[in-house]
Subunit: 207 residues, 2 copies
Amino acid sequence: MNLNRAAISPGPARGPVDHEVRDQIVAAATEHFRLYGYEKTTVSDLAKAIGFSKAYIYKFFDSKQAIGELICTRCLHVIELDVKTAIDAVDRPPEKLRRMFKAIVKSSLRLFFENRKLHDIAASAATERWEAVRAFDGRIQAMLLEILRLGRETEEFERKTPLDETATAVFLVMYPYFNPALLQYNFDDAEDAPLHLSSLVLRSLSP
Amino acid sequence: MNLNRAAISPGPARGPVDHEVRDQIVAAATEHFRLYGYEKTTVSDLAKAIGFSKAYIYKFFDSKQAIGELICTRCLHVIELDVKTAIDAVDRPPEKLRRMFKAIVKSSLRLFFENRKLHDIAASAATERWEAVRAFDGRIQAMLLEILRLGRETEEFERKTPLDETATAVFLVMYPYFNPALLQYNFDDAEDAPLHLSSLVLRSLSP
């Protein structure tokens, strides 16, 4: 299959076909990682399992990590959507913040712990600070900043503390309870933590 | 040496001599773990290195973990003393809390990261929730509760929230930044985190 591909789709047609093949590799890799774990799988294992040559996979991805990054990005995107949905479902900034804490922990737990074998992609990603994770953290910080800004506008949150300082501190409180590498140690507390933490944070934000 | 011991100290005299031998084993084990790591060392390795028989070590400790627990207890005791000293150096509860955050993170970082090889005892202890760690967490919680109680008495902290609830929440904020298993992932933030987090917590405590 790999040798025929170039003949079938040369030049301009390459883009969409590349996209399809990449999707096919990612889907097969996700399934393979789900069964055998990410850390222990090599690109050779993956090639054998998918039925492509190793060289062919390397045409589309620079490394195993590049495949892992894409899987990770998609997982994190699901979490991000859950969080966004939870925030958008209510109007008042304090309630948005409460929902954000709850949703991010719940969604992270579900995604990473329903399937322990996929979790090690997330743990590697978080430990090695992959680009996918840094981008995700950035978007979570942006959502948080938006809620804080809104709460200051509606005068439900205090305005004395510099906004950046507040945002950093709230993110530091939240972070260990959704970061997948940390979450594995926080398992006992993860159920109740969002409630306790968001209540504390809201008290800190009261005008 | 090991075979003579029973003859030298039979019956009532056993206690103090046991204590000395235990200390000797712990000191040698600490040094061995420091050089070769805790996870990779077996009781046989340890026996060889110390020059005792494996059976003799087992007279004093049930397992490698039992030795690790004692080392861990001593390390955690150093952190506890640092925290206590920091708290006692000032009078006002808000400042006590600030110092507590700073001291616990600083002392944990120093102890566990100056020597990476000893750190894996701490990480095992924290991950597997050894008794030494649970006892330590309990004493940290007690110190925290005492500061909160004092701050309510002096009316520097709010009293509307149930004390237990406040104590749990503040502990959940602090915990990821001193737990050795988590600390390894929080390394980038560990420098600034205590300041940001204690400021947030103090805002949440204001009456």
